[in-house]
């Protein structure tokens, strides 16, 4: 208000450069000035590729048949609807998400329950369960690749000690490859859930446990009737966040198996990549990419809903 009356009384109310300057520093121009650079950059590096993806998906850009370029139509989409490889990939993505969510949530919850009341060596205990998160996915893939190695891998060596279990080519066997990848992924990403669970456990009022102790509730009953209900919003947030991470997962799968053996670990992201850079069918790959974007939009909307509910409910730390 003060600035407004000040400049009206001032000597240059109608001065064009002054007005422009005020428009940019005070008026609607300010919002434009603040937003435009980022929106332009995002438009170039994300918006433009998305538009290009839509255009590609209606076209026929494949290096196998260069002459077919310019054949416009819905053929990629009709192919998608009846493509068993694509739906198989969706199913494997779903399995991968399910496996990583289940594994990460149980490992993280277990670790959080064990460590959240630790007093001695508290920092060390926490660091232990946070450290895998700092390891790049590429390194995770390399390390687990070395450990899974059928001939010299340490996992098989350790299993030699266990009776009735023999060595196994974990990443080459169709039956175990996806499971082996899920374990590597869980190892890399469960600390995300661990952080959330630690914060959640700290936000549970201590009185609830004291009251339960007076009622002689055992440890399991306390967990079942106090801890779990109190954590329900955090669990919901974590589950959907891990689903998003699991759906996006690429480097661990790609480096360890590349989608093999015989497509057994080809999730939607890996299939999208392989269709473009191995089959060189860019148009169909773009179509698969759009399908993936649609799936992740559903997940993001779910995430926003859960976050909104966690905010209005007794969300605790989230």
């Amino acid at each position: 208000m003060t600035t407004l009356s000040h400049s009206q009384d001032g000597k240059r109310p109608g001065n064009p450069p002054g007005r422009l300057r005020r428009f940019m520093t005070e008026g609607p121009g300010f919002a434009v000035l603040m937003l435009l650079p980022a929106l332009l950059v995002l438009g170039f590096v994300i918006g433009l590729p998305m538009i290009k993806a839509v255009i590609l998906s209606f076209d026929t850009i494949t290096l196998r048949r260069p002459a077919a370029a310019g054949t416009i139509g819905l053929h990629n989409y009709s192919r998608l609807l009846s493509d068993p490889d694509a739906w198989g990939a969706v199913l494997r993505s779903a399995l991968y998400m399910l496996g990583t969510v289940a594994g990460s949530v149980s490992l993280a919850l277990g670790a959080a329950l064990l460590t959240h009341r630790v007093i001695r060596l508290r920092a060390l205990a926490r660091l232990t369960f946070l450290l895998p998160w700092t390891v790049p996915a590429v390194v995770t893939a390399l390390v687990w690749g070395v450990m899974y190695d059928g001939n010299f891998g340490v996992i098989n060596r350790l299993l030699d000690v266990v009776p009735f279990v023999s060595g196994h080519d974990w990443l080459i066997d169709r039956q175990t490859a996806l499971f082996a990848l899920i374990i590597a992924q869980v190892w890399n990403e469960f600390p995300v859930a661990y952080i959330f669970f630690l914060a959640g456990l700290h936000s549970i009022p201590e009185e609830l446990y004291e009251a339960a102790k007076i009622d002689r509730a055992g440890a399991f009953a306390q967990f079942r009737f106090i801890t779990l209900p109190q954590l329900r919003y955090i669990i919901a947030v974590i589950v959907i966040l891990l689903m998003i991470l699991g759906f996006k997962a690429f480097p661990i799968i790609f480096i360890l198996t590349g989608g093999g053996p015989a497509g057994a670990t080809e999730t939607l992201t890996v299939l999208t990549y392989n269709t473009a850079f191995r089959s060189l069918d860019f148009s169909y790959s773009a179509t698969l990419g759009i399908l993936a974007v649609l799936v992740s939009l559903v997940l993001v909307l779910g995430y926003l809903r859960v976050m909104a509910r966690a905010d209005t409910g007794k969300g605790g730390a989230v």
Binding site: T3, H6, R22, M24, T25, E26, F30, A31, M34, L35, A38, V41, L42, F44, V45, I46, P49, A53, L56, A111, L114, T128, F129, L130, L131, V135, P136, V138, V139, T140, L142, W144, V146, M147, D149, N151, F152, V154, W187, V192, I195, L245, K248, F250, I255, L268, T269, V270, T272, Y273, A276, F277, F282, A286, G289, I290, V293, S296, V300, V318
Partner: protein
């Protein structure tokens, strides 16, 4: 139940808990430990390791890595790309995050959701059309293209985190500056921005790490080995030299170490950043 027995039960529970932490902790740390053991084992000898403890410790794998492989070049490329893409994302993203936090305008909610969605969709969906576009623009296999690609990863994150940091700074100070005659722009530049400095530093580091870790863009947009980032460089050791576990692990360790050190130094801030909803 007598008092003494109850106390004994509690002690048993504590011991079990401590045991659980140790067992689970060792299992979780084992892959990192094993990476170190193999990296320090003489080339070719990891297959004959007879226990989980190192027998012959040597640094020869690291020497090989830096003298016979272009590891130094790859690390340098990673540093350049990560610094540029994180700095540029911060430069563009901060003002956008401020606008989203402070200004009421139509479509703010939509912009926020779009930013979040771009951060959460699979990068493979972007990278294929980006590859075609960059091929047409002549940006394939160039550092500029690589930096632009990484901005698409880092910028949404920077915007989202910047909004969070500005949300946590009370608007009163800027209000006071405005009463003293500051324009909105100078209130942003001289009041809000300095207050957000620690947050901006955290965003820079987060962005740097995101770019450093990226494998997909580096693999897709770059072809020449001399322009590879460390992520693509070290992943090439799998398959090509697949029997050389020792060299692979030395490379992996070298690549992971800087980030781990940064994490140890900045642990608290990174953890709170993650909790504010900007994971990866």
């Amino acid at each position: 139940m007598t008092h003494g027995r109850r106390r004994a039960n509690l002690m048993v529970a504590d011991v079990l808990k401590a045991g659980g932490i140790v067992v689970l902790g060792c299992a979780v740390l084992f892959p990192i430990y094993w990476m170190g053991v193999i990296a320090l084992t003489p080339t070719g000898f990891s297959r004959s390791l007879s226990s989980v403890f190192p027998s012959d410790v040597t640094l020869e794998n690291f020497v090989t890595l830096f003298t016979e492989r272009p590891m130094l070049q790859w690390l340098w490329n990673s540093i350049v790309v990560a610094t540029l893409s994180s700095f540029l994302s911060l430069a563009f993203g901060t003002s956008c995050g401020y606008a989203l936090s402070r200004l009421k305008f139509r479509g703010a909610g939509l912009v926020l959701i779009l930013v979040l969605a771009t951060q959460m969709m699979p990068a493979t969906s972007i990278v294929v059309p980006l590859y075609i576009l960059f091929r047409d623009f002549g940006l394939l296999d160039t550092m500029q293209g690589m930096v632009l690609g990484h901005i698409s990863l880092v910028a949404p994150l920077a915007i989202w985190m910047a909004k969070g940091f500005f949300d946590s700074i009370p608007a009163d100070l800027e209000g006071a500056a405005r009463i003293d005659g500051c324009t909105r722009l100078s209130a942003y530049w001289y009041v809000a921005l300095p207050l957000a400095m620690p947050g901006l530093a955290a965003i820079f580091i987060y962005g740097f790490v995101t770019s450093w870790h990226d494998f997909l863009f580096a693999k897709t947009l770059i072809n020449s080995q001399s322009l590879w980032t460390a992520a693509t460089g070290i992943s090439s050791f799998r398959g090509e030299y697949f029997t050389l576990h020792e060299l692979q692990m030395a490379a992996a360790l070298t690549f992971a170490l800087p980030v781990v050190v940064v994490f140890l130094v900045m642990q608290r801030r990174i953890v709170s950043g993650a909790l504010s909803g900007s994971v990866r």
